[in-house]
């Protein structure tokens, strides 16, 4: 890799000005998602058949709540990155592309924060 200016090479960010950050974060959240998703599936399985009071108690307990919070943050971040790649691959018109890229971020943040809010509400018992 000898292309580009010396300063550009030192920064190592390339034409998109973000370097390998996108790739790295996708892998980082992917790695985090492995144990978190397994924990989520097992937790959901133990809760789905139970009544409301039992579910509230389980979701509000510290360890479960922390695992769920980590799961929500890591998964919605991974969702944002993944859907961005899909949009960039298939949508080429500037208007539609930017609308979808923005909508993607709004969607992931809204879904993530809704879940986080619910877990915190259950944890603090309000």
């Amino acid at each position: 890799m000898t292309r580009g200016t010396p300063l550009g090479r030192v920064r190592g960010l390339g034409s998109a000005r973000s370097g390998t950050e996108h790739f790295w974060r996708q892998r980082l959240t992917a790695l985090a998602n492995i144990p978190l998703t397994i924990a989520f599936v097992l937790l959901a399985m133990t809760m789905l058949g139970r009544n409301h009071a039992a579910v509230v108690q389980i979701l509000g307990s510290p360890l479960v709540a922390i695992v769920m919070l980590l799961f929500l943050v890591s998964v919605t971040y991974h969702m944002k990155i993944g859907m961005q790649v899909i949009i960039e691959d298939y949508v080429h018109g500037d208007g539609a592309k930017y609308a979808l890229l923005i909508g993607n971020i709004f969607f992931c943040v809204a879904v993530g924060l809704t879940g986080v809010y619910a877990i915190l509400k259950l944890s603090f018992g309000v």
């Binding site: 892998r27 992917a30 058949g49 979701l59 969702m79 899909i86 809704t114 259950l122």
Partner: protein, 139 residues
Amino acid sequence: MAEAETSDRKRNRPLSPHLGIYRPTLTMMMSIVHRATGAGLYFGTPLVAWWLLAAAGGPNGYAKFQGFIGSIFGRVILFGYTWSIIHHLLGGVRHLVWDTGRGFGPAEREWLAAANLFGSVVLTALLWILGYMTMGGQR
């Protein structure tokens, strides 16, 4: 005339080969399915947010969620969601293996693809059998 020539040239210009050109292979299908399950999970995650919000809201709202997820439609969605999670999870592990530079050989990549598919089907079936066994009488 010039315009017609331009559009004709545009129509006939060579395109890079795309999906329709290639003979379908297992690794290709698994790549497509990995992306498709990712997109499916993207639109399935609001259900998780609904579940948590309903639990935080109260018994009435939670009963509505349980009614939905317990219905035939809800169970089909949940089954698809389960399989997508497992498939995307195993596919993700496959990608992480590739990131280390391993698993690209002709035999390895076929084996990994087959294991991904087989594993996702078997694990999903196991989870649902376990699910029905442990919560069968409660609904």
